[in-house]
């Protein structure tokens, strides 16, 4: 049985690898032999450019500097969004009064895409970093709040009953039951928020910035340098993937008790 599984996995990996190689070949041929090549960089160009960006600055930093800028912005906005989002989500989810006060305002603001705030954010905060942090904060905040709100509301009433029956006071219900129950939802929310925060930082940097991976892309467009754009896109994809995997790992560790057996 295990041998069969190993065989299938080998085929999967091999075909996957071949598929990517096929795609790269197709890309190369396309840029080498057609009109597209005039605009679009070939994979080989991209490869060298990518290596180059590690030690030769594009604009103010090398690729590492840009990545650092973008990631630190995400971390700032995401951290703030997490704190505010978790608090608001828990309040809305466990207190009907809190829900009545906060929910309508929340639902009115939520449908507005975070990036649409950029213009007014620039008017409010100027052309500096604050406007970007604000956008990143917004994109994380709405996602986290809604997930935790749903989670806090979805607490199994029977568990609350069991806790009361065992002698738990109403005050302690929140910390001993609602909070632990909500943890899986908190992590789902954080996971989604991290992805959207990463997208938001890219968007914010594309619209208004002097560095960062988003800046790399728009600047590349300005000088018609597709290899620079591709370097940017590649870094965005890789970092996005890494962030997502880290989050998933943390989630798996801390929420092991809630995973349902898959049939």
């Amino acid at each position: 049985m295990i041998k069969r599984l190993k065989k299938i996995n080998k085929a999967k990996i091999f075909i996957g690898f071949a598929s990517i190689c096929g795609f790269l070949l197709f890309w190369y041929l396309g840029t080498a032999y057609t009109e597209v090549g005039k605009v679009m960089a070939s994979p080989i160009d991209l490869f060298w450019r990518f290596l180059q960006s590690a030690y030769e600055p594009i604009g103010p930093h090398t690729i590492w500097g840009h990545l650092l800028s973008s990631i630190s912005r995400v971390m700032m906005g995401f951290a703030l969004a997490s704190v505010c989002g978790i608090l608001l989500g828990l309040v809305m989810g466990s207190s009907p009064l809190g829900e009545a006060i906060a929910r309508p305002l929340f639902e009115l603001l939520r449908p507005i895409p975070p990036i649409a705030w950029i213009s007014i954010a620039v008017l409010w905060f100027g052309l500096g970093e604050m406007a970007k942090y604000f956008i990143i904060f917004l994109s994380g905040f709405f996602n986290i709040t809604i997930n935790i709100y749903t989670g806090a509301k979805a607490v199994d009433q029977e568990l609350i009953g069991a806790a009361k029956m065992l002698g738990c006071s109403d005050r302690k219900i929140f910390t001993t039951i609602v909070l632990p129950s909500s943890v899986p939802y908190i992590f789902t929310g954080l996971h989604i928020a991290l992805s959207s925060s990463w997208a938001a930082v890219v968007a914010a940097e594309m619209v208004r910035s002097t560095d960062g991976v988003g800046w790399l892309i728009t600047q590349g467009m300005g000088i018609s340098d597709t290899s620079q754009i591709m370097v940017g896109i590649l870094s965005i994809g890789v970092v996005g993937f890494i962030l997502s995997s880290i989050m998933r790992g943390v989630e798996a560790k801390l929420c092991a008790w809630s995973r349902v057996e898959k049939s």
């Binding site: 597209v36 309508p104 895409p113 990036i115 649409a116 213009s119 409010w124 619209v207 892309i217 890789v238």
Partner: protein
């Protein structure tokens, strides 16, 4: 019954209080300048004005909205009609899965907006580049959800089909796809949200028409009242689009039952 009314009243008051505080800060206490935070009255006036005036950016609110909708929906529908079938095929036929999934996983972590500059260089500033960006955003969501939907088909149901002598494609169309319908609709809902967001972002970057363009122009002209009108229009339209897809979902799911 009385309890429900109490909370609805509080909700209503909460929104009113918010607007009141806003108005007090701007008109009464004049805490902010009209170029950073306009009064709600001004915003409302601008909203009415923009319905039929084309200044200062060259089109009325509704013309911008129409332009945005046109682009968003073309990208969305393209994403749906390619993404949903592809997701289904990827989940059902292993060869397709093995070949396409690695490529898809490369595209997946990249936010749709990040493709904009590349698309602009390839297709110029216009309908095509924006449509491509929106297509990619919608496409990813549709594939992921359709894939999950098909994969969630219960093996038991397939075995039942097989014992009745169903061919493979019949198992797909008669059992797997109906099981996947709820998730496919979730994908459609996520995709419309992603599409609308991607559209606005793309218009903020490079456009000559549309709500995103209107917002961007207003910033250059120091007209935050128009920005807020734009943001509100974007929010409301996005919500309506999501609601419409939700309605479609209800109709489709109800028919099944």
């Amino acid at each position: 019954m009385k309890k429900i009314n109490k909370y609805t009243l509080i909700s209503f008051l909460s929104v009113l209080t918010f607007v009141f505080i806003w108005w007090t800060a701007t008109d009464l206490l004049k805490l902010t300048s009209p170029t950073t935070l306009p009064s709600p009255v001004k915003v409302f006036q601008s909203f009415i004005g923009k319905l039929y005036q084309t200044n200062p950016d060259g089109a009325t609110l509704l013309q911008h909205l129409a332009s945005s909708l046109k682009v968003a929906l073309s990208g969305y529908l393209l994403g749906v009609f390619i993404g949903v079938p592809l997701g289904i095929l990827m989940a059902w036929y292993k060869p397709v899965d093995y070949i396409v999934t690695p490529l898809f996983d490369l595209i997946r972590p990249i936010p749709g907006l990040a493709w904009t500059p590349l698309m602009i260089l390839l297709f110029g500033i216009g309908l095509m580049s924006k449509t491509m960006v929106i297509f990619l955003s919608a496409f990813v969501a549709c594939v992921i959800n359709s894939y999950s939907g098909i994969k969630s088909t219960k093996p038991v149901h397939l075995w039942v089909g097989e014992t009745f002598g169903a061919a493979n494609w019949q198992l797909l169309t008669k059992i797997a796809i109906p099981t996947a319908v709820p998730m496919i609709f979730t994908g459609l809902r996520v995709a419309i949200g992603a599409s609308w967001n991607a559209l606005i972002a793309a218009e903020l970057l490079a456009s000559t028409r549309g709500l995103g363009f209107m917002i961007q122009q207003a910033r250059g002209l120091y007209r935050p009242d128009i920005i807020i009108v734009g943001m509100t229009a974007v929010g409301i339209s996005g919500a309506i689009l999501a609601w419409l897809v939700g309605l479609l979902e209800k109709l489709a799911v109800n028919r099944r039952r």
